[in-house]
């Protein structure tokens, strides 16, 4: 095994040469382009700054996008909800729109870090960390959200499953690109959602397991039209339990089907063991429990509880 100097020595500084405060997105993108990958986008800074201090991230410049116009709002356009790239966790939690139409995201954002972290940290930043257990990634993944990414080449829209690339990498290269917005369909009638989190303590800690689920039911037939189940960290990136979802689609609401979904999610999860955050075996067992609990709660909220 080889070890780096930074594994045993720490500094109190973040070692960047320039701090840039662009006024427009175009200006920001140009600044990034000029630095040719040696500059990093920073918004709330809650993820980037600690990484710089620990030398887990080394760049020459920071491009602070937090004052770019038009990216701090939460809006509804038709049945779509649009979350600006600069919306903080605290704003998300406080938004009536999100609480009513995407409760699972509000529940997830409420569990990020601490009040101070939620005041600065953004949902887009949480996504961009690529962390397989990020608290808002799972809700957005279950909501089938898509991300708009701006670069000097223009804008593109990436659906979340493709956004996450594993190993804390995402489709948005935060040394060249900016996430300008996140959009997803508002939840409506006959839809229900649930966010669950397992952790060693109740604040200031990453989760052992995070689950977000969204279900769409036919209340008359008592069947599940559609279901989305996102779990982390059970794979190198935020994970959709597709096998479990397939079992649920079109199936009648029943205890048995929920159990089967849990078992399927158990089988398709491949968590890693960690001496601090628990064994793979335990996390897999918890996947089963969480999928079951998440579905019960989401189905109840959708108006179609398991009898």
């Amino acid at each position: 095994m080889s070890y780096a100097f930074k594994d045993f020595h720490w500094a109190n500084d973040i070692r960047v040469n320039e701090y840039l405060l662009p006024k427009t997105t175009a200006e920001a993108l140009e600044m990034l382009a000029e630095y040719k990958g040696q500059a990093q986008v920073v918004s709330g800074g809650t993820d980037v700054i600690p990484k710089l201090r620990k030398r887990e991230l080394e760049v020459e410049a920071l491009v602070d996008i937090s004052r770019l116009p038009g990216m701090s709002d939460i809006k509804q356009k038709g049945d779509k909800i649009i979350l600006g790239g600069l919306v903080t966790h605290a704003r998300t939690v406080a938004s009536l729109l999100i609480r009513e139409k995407a409760g699972v995201l509000a529940e997830g954002a409420a569990r990020v870090g601490s009040p101070q972290i939620r005041n600065m940290g953004t949902v887009a930043g949480n996504l961009a960390s690529g962390h397989p257990a990020a608290d808002t990634s799972m809700p957005l993944l279950a909501l089938n959200a898509s991300v708009t990414i701006a670069s000097t080449e223009g804008e593109r829209v990436v659906d979340l499953p493709q956004f996450f690339q594993g190993g804390n990498q995402t489709a948005a290269d935060s040394r060249r690109e900016i996430i300008t917005q996140i959009s997803f369909s508002a939840l409506g009638k006959n839809q229900g959602c649930c966010y669950l989190r397992l952790s060693k303590r109740r604040a200031l800690t990453i989760a052992i397991l995070v689950l977000a689920t969204v279900v769409d039911v036919d209340p008359d037939e008592k069947t599940i039209r559609d279901a989305a189940i996102a779990i982390g960290p059970v794979a190198p990136m935020p994970f959709r339990a597709r096998d479990a979802e397939e079992i649920l689609k079109g199936a009648p609401v029943s205890k048995e089907i929920v159990e089967r979904a849990g078992d399927a999610a158990y089988k398709e999860s491949t968590p890693e063991s960690s001496v601090v955050w628990g064994s793979d075996e335990y996390k897999k067992e918890m996947v089963k429990v969480f999928v079951r609990r998440g579905l019960y709660k989401a189905l109840k909220r959708a108006g179609c509880p398991v009898a």
Binding site: Y3, F5, D7, F8, H9, W10, A11, N12, D13, R15, K54, L198, K200, R201, R202, A203, L204, T205, I206, I208, S274, V275, V276, G278, S279, Y282, E285, M286, V289, R293
Partner: protein, 797 residues
């Protein structure tokens, strides 16, 4: 091994043995006017305004910044070290290796076995192999990176039991067994023969980090006369001084150690200031400039001492009626890489000895046999942490007593009521407790406040889905006041000025526990002034009498007595002067609340300051020096029998928890903690000690563990070393009981460490009561509880 039995009657009881040490408590028939009051902390104002300066808040003007190059390997020989590039970096003032240490290249609280700079080999990940001082921290960091070290790896050992094997890699040349001690009371074998029920269990506890909020910092400032001044947060300035003087190769009087305000210590800042102090001093010695070493949080976790991990094997036997008859225990205490505070300090000091003495719990057991091994490994090193040696064994004895109760078909409450220590009981060391034994009072009052009877019946599922179960648990405990060593003593100086104000000068440090409030209270009470009239001098080895370290829950009791003795010397002059001035016989005078008056005729009165001024004007003594040592500790090295500590504090905790049966998550929902403290000098400050201690015990039970893989700590920062947050700690209801300690100031005994000891097992027992599974290898995090539930496979209602 010796099976010699020991007649405990040979050990004299302390109160009969040492009548001369009593009587410090009451000076007048009147109720105290300052002691026993919840006076606000003397430092609270400066803390709520942010004005109080901690180490990092001191000016850095003119300071060089010191940094330590650390070993990346747990066990290796240093083949070569190349410092040329680092030396040539602009702004670097010194790059030092082992040969640059001017005196002894070793420090340690007891045995100086830890190199200031490693020369031949490294023994843990984080061992210091070179020191750098530079104009800025950035340059110092760059310089560190330029040093090239070549290592030859040695096979490491990470387990204390493995370390004792013949062919285990040797951490130190003398071998891996640092200390072995034993305790033999009665005849364990015969005891077990009388038992109707015998159970055997093994319990394990991990390394724990103090996680004080203030990272360590130290400043070494060479003085013009050649003295080395070392400043920093430190619990033991005198120990720091005696290490630095040897490391610099100068006499003791050429080193001055000064304590500055401390952002928490919990025992950890007994060791770490020795480490940083020696290293900063060596850098300052070479550069002749002030040097500052400030650790980052991760470095604090990596480099400084931890609570010792232990593996504890126990066999316990009882009769059908629930009375305990025999106890047999083995302790494997992991010291880690260096001796630190671990080894024996005669007669009864040392990590494994403290653990051994307390291992069978606050219970009267006629036959006890314990063997305690303290072993070196290539892990980080163990030091003192709030209860030195005792939190570990509380985890063991309080759990096995519950497990035994279950096997006997009795209750956790009844088995404790039957066997708990009372006045007249003999402890495992044969010490007959002849005074201040309030254990049963704590048990009864805790049960009442907690509503134990009802809650114990009312367990089971708490929700409709039948996923959560409630349970309750008891943790009983005891803890010494003092450290059990022959040199355990305290000195205090009391200076009364001509305006009636007072300077109190002691070596006891303030780390948040409140000694700078409680000690002046005792001083003010004794002199008859107000607490605001007493200023506490900053502990400075140049200016205060030797007081030993601020550890072992000793400050209030030992120093309190020294202060009373010092104050009496001054008070004598003042009252003599007042007698003259008031023309009243000395024996009738009373000093209280800044006034001296005739007890028989209270209108005959004089201001305290008038008498003080007259003393000054007439050359009468206004300085007092008190010195107090507790009754001498004893412990026979062959039998482990004796009076190791002169008094104990007792406690009972009761916890209620909810356990999620499907995930293993635990929530502590109710908590009562009762203590016999002798006398509460400042009840509110005392409550604060209790509440904070319970929170720390909760962390030990549920979340905390320094996770080490092959010598590498996996959770160096506060985001993965998890202490309880405000959302994890329940409402805690403290109960304070006062069973007078005849050796204590106003009857007081120690409380600093005690509160965290019973908290951990109370919660563990509650978990077991709730879910049927028991975690014997801490911490009881959700995963461990989950597997314990699976393993238990108990049919639940």
């Amino acid at each position: 091994m010796s099976t010699k039995t020991h007649d405990h009657k040979q050990i004299k009881t302390l109160t009969k043995d040492k009548p001369d040490l009593q009587g410090l408590i009451k000076t007048s028939q009147m109720s105290p006017s300052v002691v026993g009051k919840s006076i606000v902390r003397t430092d609270a104002l400066s803390k709520v305004t942010g004005k109080l300066a901690f180490g990092a808040d001191y000016s850095q003007e003119g300071f060089l910044h010191g940094k330590i190059l650390r070993s990346p390997y747990p066990h290796a020989v240093i083949k070569s070290i190349d410092i040329e590039k680092a030396k040539n970096l602009s702004g670097v003032a010194a790059v030092l290796t082992a040969e640059d240490v001017p005196g002894r290249n070793g420090f340690g609280a007891i045995i100086p076995d830890q190199p200031v700079i490693c020369g031949d080999k490294v023994r843990f990940v984080g061992d210091g192999v070179a020191l750098v001082a530079a104009e800025t921290e950035k340059i110092a960091n760059q310089a560190l990176e330029l040093i090239k070290v070549e290592y030859d790896l040695l096979p490491p050992v990470f387990d204390p039991i493995e370390a004792l094997k013949e062919d285990a890699p040797k951490v130190h040349e003398k071998g891996n067994l640092l200390s072995y001690n034993k305790l033999r009371k009665g005849d364990a074998e015969k005891g077990f023969a009388q038992a109707d029920v015998i159970i055997e269990r093994t319990y394990k506890v991990p390394f724990l980090d103090h996680a004080y909020l203030e990272p360590d910092i130290c400043m070494a400032i060479p003085q013009v006369d050649g003295t080395m001044l070392v400043e920093g947060p430190m619990q033991a300035p005198f120990t720091v001084r005696r290490n630095i003087n040897a490391v610099l190769g100068v006499p003791i009087n050429r080193v001055q150690a000064r304590q500055i305000s401390m952002g928490g210590g919990f025992g950890g800042k007994e060791d770490s200031p020795i480490d940083l102090g020696c290293r900063a001093a060596v850098l300052a010695h070479h550069t002749r400039r002030p040097v500052r070493i400030a650790l980052e949080r991760e470095e604090v976790t990596l480099q400084t001492c931890k609570r010792h991990p232990m593996t504890m094997k126990i066999k316990i036997g009882a009769k059908k009626d629930g009375s305990l008859v025999a106890f047999e225990g083995v302790i494997y205490d992991e010291q880690g890489a260096y001796a630190s505070l671990g080894p024996v300090i005669p007669p009864a000091g040392g990590s494994h000895i403290h653990a051994m003495i307390m291992m069978s719990g606050p219970y009267e057991i006629p036959n006890v046999k314990i063997d305690a091994y303290l072993c070196f490994t290539n892990n980080p090193y163990g030091g003192a942490m709030r209860g030195f040696g005792a939190p570990q064994v509380h985890v063991a004895h309080e759990q096995i007593i519950d497990e035994l109760a279950e096997a006997l078909g009795t209750t956790p409450f009844d088995i404790r009521r039957r066997n708990g220590l009372r006045e007249g009981s003999a402890t495992a060391t044969g010490q007959v407790l002849d005074q201040s034994v309030g254990l049963h009072d704590t048990l009864e009052s805790c049960a009442k406040a907690f509503d134990w009877e009802k809650k114990y019946q009312d367990t089971g599922y708490v929700n409709e889905e039948k996923t959560k179960r409630r349970g309750v648990g008891i943790g009983m405990g005891w803890y010494r006041t003092s450290i059990g060593t022959n040199n355990d003593a305290c000195g205090a100086n009391v200076y009364v000025h001509e305006d009636g104000t007072v300077l109190l000068s002691t070596g006891i440090t303030e780390m948040g526990q409140g000694s700078f409030t409680v000690l002046p209270q005792i001083c003010a009470e004794e002199l008859g002034v107000r607490v605001e009239d007493v200023r506490v001098a900053r502990p400075d080895t140049d200016a205060v009498p030797e007081s030993g370290p601020t550890v072992g829950s000793r400050s209030t009791t030992l120093m309190g007595n020294a202060i009373i003795l010092a104050a009496r010397q001054v008070k004598k002059s003042i009252l003599e002067m007042a007698a003259e001035m008031l023309m009243v016989p000395l024996t009738r005078l009373e000093s209280r609340d800044r006034r001296i008056y005739d007890r028989d005729n209270p209108d005959t009165v004089l201001e305290f300051r008038e008498a003080a001024a007259r003393c000054m004007a007439n050359g009468k003594r206004l300085i007092g020096q008190g010195w107090w040592a507790p009754p001498a500790p004893s412990l026979d090295p062959e039998t482990g029998q004796g009076n190791p500590y002169f008094v104990y504090t007792y406690s009972t905790h009761m916890a209620e928890v909810n356990v999620d049966m499907e995930t293993g998550e635990v929530e502590v929902t109710d908590y009562v903690a009762a203590f016999d403290v002798g006398k509460a000098i400042n009840p509110k400050a005392l409550e604060g000690q209790i509440e904070g201690g319970v929170a720390m015990g909760l962390g030990y039970a549920l979340t905390e563990e320094v996770a080490i893989e092959n010598g590498y700590i996996q959770n160096l920062s506060l985001r993965d070393y998890l202490i309880p947050t405000s959302l994890d700690v329940p409402d805690i209801k403290p109960i304070i009981l006062e069973v007078e300690n005849k050796f204590g100031p106003y009857g007081a005994k120690g409380i600093g460490e005690m509160p965290n000891l019973p908290a951990t097992p109370a919660i563990l027992n509650a978990i077991a009561n709730a879910c049927g599974g028991r975690v014997r290898d801490l911490p009881a995090d959700p995963e461990k509880v989950y597997w314990a539930i699976k393993e238990a496979e108990i049919p639940l209602d």
